[in-house]
């Protein structure tokens, strides 16, 4: 090309610039797959549904009056949680202070090694 014909250099230069711009835009589009992966894995790794679920069960169980049944259900939750959800789950319910409109104050502990969730719930 060079020295054979030196006309239209600016057109060729602009052509190259546009091509390179398209190349970098293609890289951006290419990266969108990886961005989706990071988001999806973040959502999967965070045990949102597990916590909501076990929290519901714990709040319901905190109302059990019979102390034997309460101990049984506590052991159910911690044993099955450890065996199947790979999470350490425990809770303890104490009566709410006088004048409170709630029945119990419940300490909830959840830890699956990646996410730890601790809550003091009034229920």
């Amino acid at each position: 090309m060079a020295r054979l014909n030196d006309d239209a250099q600016w057109i060729v230069l602009m052509g190259f610039i546009v091509s390179f711009a398209l190349f970098f835009l293609a890289i951006v589009v290419n990266q969108s797959t990886v961005v989706g992966q990071t988001t999806a894995e973040g959502v999967i790794e965070f045990p949102k549904n597990d916590i909501i679920d076990v929290r519901n069960e714990i709040l319901f169980s905190s109302g059990i009056v019979n102390p034997t049944n309460l101990t049984d259900v506590k052991n159910d939750i911690s044993s099955i949680g450890l065996a199947r959800k790979m999470a350490i789950i425990s809770f303890n319910a104490t009566p709410a202070p006088p004048g409170s409109s709630y029945k119990n104050v419940i300490l909830i502990h959840y830890n699956n090694g990646v996410t730890a969730y601790n809550e003091t719930a009034n229920y």
Partner: protein, 168 residues
């Protein structure tokens, strides 16, 4: 010394360098082919769908304290056909057109009070797992009262329904 000579030499040099770099980049990249299916986006959506379906099944349709959810009734009555129907209805329904085609296998985990071991009861399945699927796992805690055929020990207990869910 600034003039506009030799522009095409410069351009050719730069473009040749970029072409070589690009070729090397593409060759190295072709050792792994990365498709959107590898990104777990569909897994995330499937897991949320399954969790929502199980939560719907575990919600009583009245606010009375004695009300039982359909999932509680299914476990107490060991009504596995009902589980299959309800779960697939929630998972496979679409707003229009043909239904989705999700498959599942469901187990129930409980704690035996006497041995303090966690045991499994197989509930039901639509298809056997043969290893080629790519299932996600969704679970739901279910509270069972003592007034029924509770899996073991006949006591008030918390059990875990575990469903492996995949798109066929």
């Amino acid at each position: 010394m600034v003039n506009s000579d030799g522009q095409l030499f410069t351009i050719e040099g730069i473009s040749a360098g970029l072409i070589m770099l690009l070729t090397a980049y593409i060759v190295v990249n072709t050792t792994s082919i990365y498709t959107p299916g590898d990104t777990h986006i569909s897994d995330m959506q499937l897991e949320q769908l399954g969790s929502d379906a199980l939560r719907l099944m575990n919600t009583p349709n009245t606010s009375a304290t004695s009300a039982e959810s359909s999932l509680q009734k299914i476990i107490i009555n060991n009504d596995t056909a009902q589980f299959s129907n309800t779960f697939l209805w929630f998972c496979n329904s679409t707003t229009s057109g043909t239904n989705d085609n999700l498959q599942f296998t469901a187990d129930l985990y409980y704690r035996d009070k006497n041995t303090n071991s966690v045991n499994k009861i197989h509930l039901t399945q639509t298809r056997n797992l043969i290893g080629g699927e790519h299932p996600v796992r969704v679970t739901e805690w279910v509270h069972l009262n003592s007034n029924g055929q509770v899996p073991v020990n006949n006591r008030e207990q918390a059990v875990l329904v575990e469903v492996l869910l995949w798109r066929d």
